[in-house]
């Protein structure tokens, strides 16, 4: 035997030369240098190295030489027989030998440290050359090689720790990089949506394209990878595809040997497997049902396994882990459990201008989770308190500001406005930007809101930007200016609805997490008050770009039917202008009978309501109605509901115009649009007003000389006759005015504010000025409405008949007593 060891020395065979076995051997030789004669097998053709530093190697910030942890001299000094490049293929437990291409090697004790294998998603094309994982030095070399080609493109599948480190590194090497991530935000296991948003923004700033909710369908290519195809049809050309979707413990030889293996090789607290002579350590093991994928716990295991080998007492205990992303310039830290729960409280600190987000989750005055982005220097301090269970009651108020906090100033409510660039538009009506207001204040010595209005026109029209203008004044004038208090949207923010609406536009915020971060929301996920409002504002402001968040909609809009007091739904198909025919009525009658619908009622809006439909039946009911040509009536929506009409000049002896035709035309033009609150309209053929147009949100009274447009009526909790907007001569003009008025309301009103309340706030004259007098502005409103209709006029019923949101309509499972009795 080498090193002159005696035959009494036990033979230890180690399978896997990775991070865990390297550390375990160090501990072992420290405790008992002579106890074992060690043979170390490694599938990779090299010794132990610091795997986690492969990211900086890929980025070109380090070389392989820098990250070697154990070199030839070390193995020699400790008498380790190295068998690198030799995979162990079999363990024969009876004869106590391992098998490899070099033959059989006997052991007294065997240590399995095989780590994990990258998970390759089973899609077509996964075996094409150019598809690679990110696990070992060979993978890194292959990627570096691919990046040499000028203009080479990489698609990284997986937006977790590993995938993003690969993406950032490949980008540094000059590749065009796209990250595909299955979930809604990056690193969803370590980050909440707010931090995920900041991370995405940073990566995009580096020129990396990030596609979330990306379901890979296939990898395309003839001889080698050429592109990646997603389920939604998107194709990303690629020279290489890096799969970084996860890992699974490498347990094959353990399974074959009949050891107890669940997800990983099951070990005791002493790191012993179901065979007392076989131990295991590292990512390949499962301890108390948990597999680990970070080195900190593996190092604890390594210490324990070394003690067990030399017969000392030691026990591995599960540990909390903390995560950091190793991308130069990105500071991100996450630790512990940051799920919500109501025995839990959270402290959130956001600094929009600095791009900082910090969130601590507390339970009984102890930190149980921390997420930080942008500023992570207190990560270790928080993590330390988390592990120790430190009671933080004393420093609660200032905790989030970090260890170095020395009684600094309280949070500044004007921070969001301070962060705006000078060219950010504050007043939408008059197109006044922040810089103009500031310079008017300073150069002209303005001190009051009226002065600012007079000199800049900001907030002089609809007034919805008043809050922001006042904040700009406060910023410029300092404490001498005291803005009027605004009613915050909800307890998640100090900003009012108008401020939020203006800032969404001014800062071009296009997702709910973006709004919450940039406007410094005080909660991580909002509440049932602000989320539906934000969702509407984003749908309205970015019709083509915003992805509607259905989980932020009330149930009626989510399932496109009206919930009733018993939890069933009512279904109201559109009946354009209240006109129907025999075929439609027959279809409704058939549906009512087929689905045993208990009640049918004519509504106040001239259509038919089927009440008491079971949720599971909704798609089938819609399918039947759809066959007869019906589409959703949006009777459930904050959107256009009905356009009531009278029979007008077609039938009525008093009729002056085709009121039915105009009503149908308006309804066909405007259906499907989302509005701040419901919108009901009506068209009457003469001033006798049989369609009751003068108590609607928008009404038309036809007269001989044209069309009188009315608005801002109410016939609900409040009763109010309409205001007259004006008289127009033609049907075309009537339509344009009504559409423009609706768009102005869509853009300016607060969520759930009906037209009559909004118009009163803004001033009827202001509405007349913008819609009737200013023809250019009217046209611009009209055009914006038409643009948004391109995305809104999709019948939600037929979409769902074709399978959208299937999960909404079916129970997930049923559990009966059969199971319960088992």
């Amino acid at each position: 035997m080498n090193n002159g060891l005696t035959d009494m020395t036990q033979k230890l065979v180690v399978v896997g030369a990775g991070m865990a076995s390297g550390r375990a051997l160090e501990h072992l030789f420290e405790a008992a240098p002579e106890a074992f004669d060690v043979t170390l097998f490694g599938a990779e053709p090299r010794g132990n190295y610091n795997r986690i530093m492969l990211s900086p190697v890929l980025a070109g910030e380090k070389t392989y030489g820098d990250i070697v942890t154990h070199d030839a001299a070390w193995y020699a000094a400790n008498g380790v027989t190295c068998r690198f490049g030799e995979t162990v293929t079999k363990i024969d437990r009876k004869r106590k030998v391992v098998v490899s291409k070099g033959g059989e090697t006997p052991y007294d004790k065997l240590l399995i440290a095989t780590g994990s294998a990258p998970f390759i998603i089973p899609v077509a094309g996964k075996d094409l050359p150019g598809v690679m994982a990110f696990r070992d030095l060979d993978d890194v070399n292959a990627m570096v090689e691919a990046a040499r080609k000028p203009g080479a493109r990489a698609v990284v599948i997986g937006g977790g720790l590993l995938g993003l480190e690969a993406a950032a590194a490949l980008r540094l090497r000059g590749m065009e990089v796209t990250v595909l991530h299955l979930m809604g935000h990056l690193m969803e296991r370590q980050l909440d949506p707010a931090a995920g948003y900041l991370l995405k923004k940073e990566l995009e700033g580096r020129g990396i394209k990030v596609h979330v909710k990306a379901q890979t369908k296939a990898i395309l290519g003839e001889e080698k990878v050429e592109a990646v195809l997603l389920e939604d049809g998107t194709v990303y050309p690629a020279d290489i595809v890096v799969m970084a979707v996860g890992i699974r413990p490498e347990t094959r030889i353990a399974v074959d040997a009949g050891l107890h293996v669940e997800r990983g090789i099951v070990v005791s607290d002493q790191m012993v497997t179901s065979d007392p002579d076989i131990l295991a350590v590292g990512e390949c093991v499962e301890h108390e049902g948990v597999c680990y994928g970070l080195v900190a716990p593996l190092y604890d295991m390594a210490r324990v396994v070394a003690k067990t080998l030399v017969k000392e007492d030691a026990a591995f205990r599960p540990v909390e882990t903390a995560t950091q992303l190793k991308v130069t310039g990105i500071n991100l830290y996450s630790a512990g459990d940051f799920a919500d729960g109501d025995d839990r409280e959270e402290i959130v600190l956001r600094d929009a201008s600095a791009g900082v987000y910090k969130r601590l989750v507390l339970k009984q005055n102890r930190i149980i989770g921390a997420v930080m982005y942008g500023e992570t220097s207190d990560g270790a301090w928080f993590f330390d308190m988390l592990r120790k269970g430190t009671d933080i009651a004393e420093m609660r108020e200032t905790l989030i500001f970090g260890q170095a906090y020395q009684g600094g100033s309280p949070l500044d409510p004007t921070a969001a406005v301070a962060a705006l660039p000078d060219d950010a538009e504050i007043c939408g009506c008059n197109g006044v930007c922040k810089g103009k207001i500031v310079s008017a204040i300073t150069s002209k010595g303005l001190t009051s809101l009226d002065d600012v209005r007079a000199h800049t026109k900001a907030s002089a029209s609809c007034g919805s930007c008043t809050g922001l203008v006042e904040q700009v004044m406060k910023l410029t004038l300092g404490d001498s200016y005291n803005p009027a208090a605004v009613q915050p949207m909800c307890t998640c923010t100090d900003l009012g609805h108008d401020d939020v609406r203006r800032l969404i536009k001014a800062k071009a915020l296009k997702t709910i997490p973006a709004v919450m971060q940039e406007l410094e929301w005080k909660t991580s996920c909002g509440c049932a008050k602000c989320r539906p409002a934000l969702n509407y504002y984003l749908v309205c402001d970015w019709p083509d770009e915003y992805a509607d968040d259905y989980q932020s909609r009330f149930i009626n809009e989510r399932v496109h039917a009206n919930i009733q007091k018993d939890g069933t739904y009512s279904v109201v198909p559109r009946m354009w202008g209240g006109v129907t025919n025999a075929a439609e009525l027959r279809a409704i009658a058939d549906v009512v009978e087929k689905f045993n619908i208990p009640a049918v009622k004519v509504t106040g809006g001239q259509r038919i309501d089927m009440l008491g439909v079971r949720k599971e039946d909704l798609p089938a009911v819609w399918a039947e109605l759809g066959k007869a040509g019906f589409v959703s009536g949006h009777a459930y929506a904050k959107g256009l509901r009905t356009v009531k009409t009278c029979v007008g000049s077609d039938w009525c002896r008093f009729g002056t115009q085709d009121s039915t035709g105009l009503g149908i035309r308006i309804e066909k033009f405007m259906w499907g649009s989302w509005t701040p609150a419901k919108v009901k309209m009506a068209v009457s053929g003469c001033p006798r007003n049989c369609a009751e147009a003068t108590c609607k949100d928008v009404g038309v009274i036809c007269v001989d000389s044209g069309f009188e447009i009315h608005f801002a009526g109410a016939a609900g909790l409040d009763i109010k006759g309409t205001e007259k907007l004006g008289l127009v001569a033609t049907e075309d003009e009537a339509l344009e005015v009504i559409v423009a008025l609706t768009q102005m309301y869509r853009e300016q009103a607060r969520y759930l504010e009906r037209i009559y309340k909004w118009a009163k706030r803004v001033g009827y004259d202001e509405v007349r000025r913008q819609i009737l007098d200013d023809k250019d502005r009217r046209k611009a409103y009209f055009d914006r409405f038409v643009f948004s209709q391109k995305f809104a006029q999709v019948d939600p019923w037929s979409e769902r008949v074709s399978g959208k949101d299937k999960h909404e309509f079916k129970p997930m499972a049923s559990v009966g007593f059969a199971e319960a009795a088992e």
């Binding site: 799920a339 025995d343 509440c527 007091k565 999960h807 129970p811 319960a820």
Partner: protein, 116 residues
């Protein structure tokens, strides 16, 4: 004695959403929060019977779709000024799989029969 039955996978439920499970004692709503926690509660609001599975989920709470009472998914207790509670049911996660304790349902059923 617990008796864990698989009721579905995490991905069956949208984030900040819920799905229902039919049981002999009525519907149970299974929620998934933004942070991927799962909770099960009776799908019946103690106020006027609203289906809580249809509410908006925020944090570990749900707002009833009928009259906006807010309930904790963890304890089942109504929040704020409202008073009331819904029954909660234990769930277990095994990776992607979600398991429900069928014996808890049996127990709830016997309790109901005894009360009637």
């Amino acid at each position: 004695m617990s008796d864990w039955v698989e009721i579905g996978r995490l991905s069956d439920i949208p984030r900040r959403g819920a799905r229902c499970v039919d049981t002999p004692i009525g519907r149970i709503a299974v929620f998934r929060t933004a942070a991927d926690e799962v909770y099960a509660i009776e799908d019946r609001c103690p106020h006027k019977g609203g289906p809580l599975s249809q509410g908006i989920v925020h944090g570990a709470q749900v707002t009833c779709p009928l009259h906006n009472w807010v309930f904790s998914l963890e304890t089942g207790l109504a929040q704020g000024a409202d008073e009331g509670a819904v029954r909660t049911f234990p769930l277990k996660r095994d990776g992607e799989r979600i398991l429900m304790d069928a014996s808890a349902i049996l127990a709830a059923a016997s309790a109901r029969i005894a009360a009637e």
